[in-house]
Structures are given as C-alpha cells and as structure tokens.
Symmetry: C2
Subunit: 209 residues, 2 copies
C-alpha cells in the first residue's frame, strides 16, 4: 500500500485550508453529478466562487484535485455506510440496512449511482494512480462490510468454511451492480433484487438458531 504524498502547499492558514476544502467539496458534488469528464475547472471555479489561481495554488493540476475528490467521496460513502453497519447485530438489522440502501437510492431516483463506482468506471482504465486509490476505496468498504458480518457471526455462528472477506466482496459486487442497473433503468428494483440475493448469500453462511 503506497502512500500518496498530498500536493498541499507548505503552510496552510485556517483560511487557506477552508478554501482548499471548499474547492474539493464543490468539485466532489459536481463530479458526482456530471462525472469527471463532464466537469471543467471553470465549473468548479464558478460553483465554489474561487479564481483560477486559487485552484492552481492548492492543486498541482486537475488530476491532483480529482485524487482529493476520490478521497473525499470515499470517506463520505464509508461514513454513511458505517452508520448503517455499526448497528448490525441481527439478521433483522441486515434487512434494515438493505431497506436503507433502497430508500436512499429511491430518494435520488437512482441517479448518480455509487460515487465511488462511477469514478472507478471512468478512471480505472485511464489513470493507474486513480485506479490504485479507488481499489483501496473498495478494499476499505469491503473491510467495513466484513466487520459488520463479523459482529453478526458472534451471535449467529458462522458456518465452517465461510470466508467473511469473500462474502464481503460478493456483497459489494451486488451493491455496485444493483446501483448501476438502478441508475440505468431509473428503478430501484434491480438494487432490491441484487441486495436480496446478497442477503441470502450471507444467511447461507450463518448457522441459524
């Protein structure tokens, strides 16, 4: 796991840090809505009321900004998922998690899909560095799912031979695929069916009481 050196200036005052953070947050929102290719630096400038020189003062180039956007989106998604995962103590909780995902997707009409998934799809074959970072994002997400499953398995024992990380990977695949189909069909139905399949998959590996 290589550590990427942040391209921040040597010294950052509170004001500078705020501007920098505002740029990243604005860029993340725009890119989340229109993709990397659909978001120009001029767009970011206008939306964050910042000048060109500020952009290039805080970031070496567009790619550097995008890397920060990936990091922000990852922490946003993981934070949202964590709030659903830390309360995971029973299969009923697992179903609540499933319903929350569907509700969230329904609230935006399926639009946007998964911010991380969209970035991965757009950047993985284009920038090796971005791909590596995004692979790390997925890895963290899987680890978080695995953590929730571990908590589940303390109550309901895990069937011998069950591999929690592998199950987590399969669950994440279902999430990503379901979100992509939901985004394309503008229906939550594919996400529901994908998550239901994933839930069954988890249950299959637990020894029920």
């Amino acid at each position: 796991m290589t550590v990427i050196a942040p391209s921040a200036p040597i010294h950052l005052t509170a004001r500078g840090a705020a501007t920098r953070a505002r740029i990243i947050a604005t860029a993340a929102d725009l890119i989340g809505a229109h993709g990397v290719g659909g978001t120009s630096l001029d767009d970011v400038m206008a939306a964050s009321t910042v000048s060109k020189s500020q952009l290039y003062h805080y970031f070496a180039d567009k790619d550097a900004l995008i890397r920060e956007v990936i990091t922000l989106q990852t922490s946003r998604v993981l934070a949202a998922q964590r709030s659903l995962m830390v309360t995971l103590d029973s299969l009923a909780d697992l179903r609540r998690w499933r319903n929350s995902m569907v509700d969230m997707n329904n609230a935006v009409g399926g639009k946007g899909g998964c911010p991380i998934g969209s970035l991965a799809n757009e950047l993985a074959d284009h920038s090796e560095l971005a791909r590596t970072i995004l692979a790390g994002s997925f890895e963290s997400w899987e680890a978080q799912i695995a953590e929730g499953l571990d908590r589940l398995s303390t109550r309901d024992a895990l069937r011998p031979g069950a591999n929690v990380p592998d199950i987590a990977t399969a669950v994440l695949s279902a999430i990503q695929g379901g979100l992509l189909l939901a985004k394309t069909t503008r229906t939550t139905r594919p996400l529901e069916l994908a998550l239901d399949m994933a839930l069954r998959h988890v249950e299959d590996h637990l020894v029920m009481a």
Copy 2:
C-alpha cells in the same frame, strides 16, 4: 418501447454501407478502450481512415454515432453471451458459463470491464436517450439469461415462487458489479465471487434431483 429512427442517409450503396459500418466498428473499439469522453472524432477519423465530411455524412453528430456504437456493442455482447447460454442444459453447464466469463475477463487483465456497463455508467446521467437505449440493452441481456434459466428449469424443476426474470436481474447485477470490481482491482477474484454467489442464487431456486 420506443423505436429510434436511424440517422442514415436516404440511399446507401454497398460502398457507403461498408464505410458507415467501418466507422461504427472503429468507434466502438476506441470507445470500449478509452470511453466516450476519451475518444475524439479525430481519433475515429485516424483509426478508420475516413475524413471529417464522411463522419458527418453518415451521422448527424457525435451523439448519433455513439448511439450506433451502443447498438453494436449490445449485439456484440449478446452474441457472445448467447453462444454460452444456448448450450445451457445442466448445472454443470452453468458452471462452464461462469468459468468462460472468468477466463474472458482474465484474458484482458480485467481491463475495460463490460462495454455496456461502462457506457451506461458514463452516459446514463448525461443523455436521456442514451440511457433509454442502454436500459433496453440490459433488458435484452436479462431476457437472454432468463431464456437460459428457463431451459434449465425444464430439466430441474423450478421451486414454486421462483421468479425467473427477477433471478436474471440479480445475476446481471452480479456480473456488472463483479466486472467493475475486477476492472478496478485488476483481479478476476471479485468476478469469481460475484458469479459464484449468482450461481448459488440460481441453484437455490431449482429443485434438485
């Protein structure tokens, strides 16, 4: 299901049709490798040895060309999948299908992912027309999977309550999610795990002998 009027000229001689087809095929290859945003018309011109006026003679604009690319990629994928699906007569065949998918993905090092999935991710939120066409692509793919499952269920009976189209949707979600993670991690492992989950899901709905 609305039918999209093709933007072809009134009359097409054999030579014209060949040029048109060559443009679409070349564009499909380039876009498959670099995405829509990463492929300029100049790139298409160079790769297909065609002039600017020819592009605009056969297609109204870039969007029109992209629509044809979507159609071509869809038929390519469905043809490849059909060849794996028509031979589906037992669970062993299902596993062979799974292995073929993994082998194909391994052959390209995970790169590219699913052409349709990549297009959907890039275009669904950007062009309503493209989204509609891509939703149709997924629908056709699901129908083809459902067809294969139907053939399976004539040998091994289907469990009551099992909904073949729903299962097909879940299977397609697993494919898409697995391919996206494979593309990002450059490993076939996520695809394998996602497909294995999907296989179990199918088996769960069949009454075994």
